[in-house]
């Protein structure tokens, strides 16, 4: 039973009909006795008077600390933060208002926790960036100062003020003041809340058995955590099974796969499902209910399994860009191939081979084209089937192209190699060496402007001559000379595309970036977490990464999940409905609105020996939507943290002529 702390106390002295032990008189059996009906009408009549809907639980004597962030100029270049502080100091209840360059920094957070202790603050407001970034940070800071974290209010004056009203500093400043006044009003009605604790299922689901999934599963299992690893293919390894040697170590990719898959298969903590697909995901952190279906059901395999897991690691990887038919003559000319196809060709060519051949044709000159399907520009490139341009850099193709170019020059010194790039992005440790070595080995580089990519043609001289194809380029290295290079083969440096996981994205309500890859909460502060609590990112599902980066991300995701499992319970925000028993009359209006089975019901409870009916919330099932709130004629049900009186107070703070003043509602005549 969700009981309000002082719900049954007789705190409303002026209004006995609605309080304490008298409430059964007010509305215990509203419809069926004359006395009750009369009493109910009294209640209704009282409700009609303004005073009853004015919440009586507003705390008047407050000591609120307001902290305004400059965000290193992001806010203070537009909003006059000093004036904001001066003005909000005048709002009744505000004990202190301070400005800091970065409130989220350690010194900024210390300032808050120290002030709570030294200045006896009982409420805190921080006006800074969006709450999605630092609401949790500042809840932590106020907790460390000994204050209940839900007596904290966040005001967004960066995304929704300084950045959005850059050319209106006066207006942005006034808005910041009003928004803070609103937050102070909301805090007047705030109550300390406790997080809801639910059991944490100490088992993780890893979706995807590529190098990221294997690494995450192995790391988690090494910490003693049970893992369910689900892969759609019949073997582990993912894309790595298609590569030959990985840069910069030049180890065979198969060795890496073998090493990791041995760890995965032999660890008793890991259960591996190969040839399975996740079909359902529901629930929340600590308590995800998942279902998987077998892609090839057989006598030995059940068609479907269900499981409960506490965390989900997304390691579904990427999908290589496949050029459109005719793009650089791909699928028109057999000797125009993609980078993965070329790697396969090199791998299947015997180490003793003297010649490089493709479809019985000897390759004497080969061209590599960078940025095929990456760094696409509006107006230059055609959007894909989904209408999207891949504007991002795929990050791995430059080094892979140079690795392959160098391999060609070393294995077949008589084969000429021509490289067409916008610029070379060999950014990682040891990767620049490939560029230096390729240059030394005689690879010829051409550089084009992104708006004028090279074009591939069939040479008029025909297939028998030296080069059936040619690459035409406006070369920036020779000040824009238009050159044509005859070659036998063109390798398209294709990049990465987001994997096809729309159904998972849909079911789990995951955020994707403009590029279609899954989007982390924050690129620097929370790089492997998704906005859905308990769902983590490992590898190229998040965007193009090389193998080292993928392994780092997978390791980080495993650590994040392990840290989450270190706690016995999962703590959820207490934003669920709560019934004010001193106001509830058991009329069940709210129950008719609730769409969640079991979340809200009418129960009989005993008060002073008499049975009365009241609404009751099941906090584990309530989602906190508030559908019940709007229909209660007695304002007897509210969503904690988002109470109706709090919203009314916020509007008052925003709308008042002067911050801190009341609007006096309709009593004010402005005409």
């Amino acid at each position: 039973m969700t009981l309000k702390r002082d719900a049954m106390s007789n705190k409303n002295e002026f209004d006995k009909a609605r309080t304490g032990k008298h409430e059964e008189l007010a509305c215990g059996e509203p419809a069926h006795s004359d006395e009750a009906l009369t009493q109910q009408q009294i209640t209704l009549a009282q409700l009609q008077s303004e005073s009853i809907l004015q919440p009586e639980n507003a705390k008047q004597e407050l000591r609120i600390g307001v902290y305004i962030c400059r965000c290193g100029g992001n806010i203070s270049d537009v909003v006059d933060v000093e004036r904001v502080a001066e003005t909000v100091r005048m709002i009744p209840g505000v004990a202190t208002a301070k400005v800091h360059t970065f409130v989220c920094s350690d010194p900024g957070q210390h300032m808050i926790s120290n002030d709570i202790l030294e200045e006896n603050l009982d409420r805190v407001v921080v006006a800074s960036c969006t709450p999605f970034l630092h609401e949790q940070t500042f809840r932590g800071a106020v907790s460390r100062g000994g204050m209940n974290p839900y007596l904290y209010e966040h005001v967004n004056i960066r995304e929704q003020a300084s950045w959005a009203h850059k050319h209106d500093p006066e207006g942005a400043t006034a808005k910041a003041i009003r928004m803070i006044a609103g937050a102070v009003g909301k805090l007047r009605y705030a109550q300390p809340l406790e997080q809801i604790k639910l059991p944490n299922h100490r088992r993780a689901l890893v979706i995807g058995g590529g190098i990221a999934g294997m690494k995450a599963a192995a790391d988690l299992a090494a910490r003693g955590i049970k893992v369910l690893l689900v892969e759609t293919a019949e073997q582990l390894g993912g894309r790595l099974n298609q590569w030959s040697h990985v840069y910069p170590s030049e180890r065979p990719a198969a060795e890496l796969v073998a090493e990791l898959s041995r760890r995965v298969h032999h660890d008793p903590n890991i259960e591996v499902l190969l040839g399975w697909k996740i079909t359902e995901v529901a629930g929340f952190i600590g308590n995800f209910k998942i279902a998987a279906e077998s892609l090839q059901p057989s006598m030995t395999r059940p068609p479907r399994i269900e499981a409960t897991v506490g965390a989900i690691i997304m390691a579904t990887g990427f999908r290589p860009y496949v050029p459109r038919d005719g793009e650089f003559l791909y699928r028109t000319e057999p000797c125009v191939v993609t980078l993965p196809e070329f790697i396969q060709l090199m791998q299947s060519t015997s180490q003793d081979a003297k010649k490089l051949t493709h479809r019985n044709q000897t390759i004497r000159n080969v061209a590599f084209l960078h940025c095929v399907g990456s760094r696409q520009l509006d107006g230059v490139h055609e959007p894909g089937a989904d209408g999207r341009l891949n504007t991002y850099c795929s990050r791995t193709c430059c080094t892979t192209i140079l690795q392959q170019a160098l391999a060609v020059r070393r294995r077949f010194p008589h084969v000429g190699v021509f490289d067409f790039n916008q610029d070379i992005r060999t950014y990682g440790r040891g990767e620049e060496d490939y560029y230096a070595e390729a240059s030394k080995s005689g690879v010829v580089f051409f550089r084009y402007n992104g708006e004028e990519p090279p074009t591939v043609h069939i040479t008029p001289s025909g297939h028998a001559q030296s080069g059936a194809l040619s690459v035409a380029v406006k070369d920036a290295l020779t000040w824009g000379q238009e050159l044509e290079v005859p070659v036998d083969m063109v390798v398209l440096g294709t990049g990465m595309m987001p994997g096809q996981i729309e159904d998972l994205i849909d079911q789990m309500k995951l955020a994707t970036g403009e590029d279609g890859f899954l989007q982390e909460v924050h690129p620097k502060l929370r790089p492997v977490e998704l906005a859905v609590n308990g769902v983590l990112l490992a590898g190229t599902v998040q965007g193009p990464m090389n193998i080292s980066e993928t392994l780092s991300a997978a390791g980080a995701a495993a650590v994040k999940a392990a840290a989450m499992f270190a706690r016995e319970d999962v703590e959820l925000n207490p934003y669920v409905a709560e019934v004010d028993l001193s106001r509830c009359c058991g009329e069940a209006q709210c129950v008719t609105q609730c769409a969640y089975e079991g979340a809200l019901s009418i129960v009989e409870i005993e008060v002073d020996g008499e049975m009365i009916t009241r609404a009751q919330v099941n906090a584990g099932l309530c989602v906190g939507c508030g559908a019940c709130v709007a229909v209660c004629p007695h304002r007897a049900i509210d969503v904690n943290g988002w109470r109706l009186d709090q919203f009314e107070a916020m509007v008052e703070g925003i709308a008042a002529d002067m911050p801190g003043q009341t609007c006096a509602s309709e009593l004010v005549s402005i005409h």
Partner: protein, 165 residues
């Protein structure tokens, strides 16, 4: 009172969709007028009719309900909300506040253009309509509260209360 009229626009923005959508506008450094105040809400379904009328009574000139639409994370909440706003709008219209001071729309997390368009539309309407009649809004709010309380008598409580629990 001699100051030029600048309408106060309140945006009730859902935590899952429209609020991050409004953030995206700022992140993209797109601008809109500073007299637009955005409140983060789990779902606007929690507001009764009288809340909106209270906003007008307090001097808010226009309310834009920026919801999740079909992406609403709560079962049935968007439909319930839409039905309520329908009712509210007809009450506002009948009561003389008109229908242009309120608008229900869906804004997604990346709907920058839609957000700016809705703000511009509401802003244009409000400059044309002028200040909200706060007294009238207060009157309508009282009527709305009466209706809410009347709903108790109208509701058939038999299944919940008569047949035992």
């Amino acid at each position: 009172m001699s100051e030029a009229f600048v309408p106060k626009i309140l945006v009730l923005a859902t935590e899952k969709c429209a609020y991050p959508g409004a953030d995206a506008v700022g992140k993209a450094h797109q601008e809109y007028p500073s007299n637009v105040y955005i409140l983060r809400v789990p779902s606007p379904v929690l507001f009764p009719e009288d809340f909106y009328l209270d906003c007008y009574g307090k001097g808010i000139d226009g309310v834009l309900i920026a919801a999740c639409g079909s992406d609403c994370p709560y079962h049935g909440a968007y439909e319930q909300l839409a039905a309520r706003i329908d009712q509210l709008t007809s009450h506002m219209n009948a009561g003389g506040l008109g229908i242009e001071r309120i608008r229900l729309t869906a804004i997604c997390t990346v709907c920058i253009k839609a957000f700016l368009k809705e703000i511009a539309l509401m802003s244009d309407n409000l400059y044309r309509l002028g200040r909200v009649d706060r007294k009238l809004a207060g009157q309508l709010r009282r009527e709305s509260l009466n209706r809410l309380q009347g709903s108790v008598r109208a509701l058939d409580l038999a299944p919940a209360l008569q047949g035992g629990l």
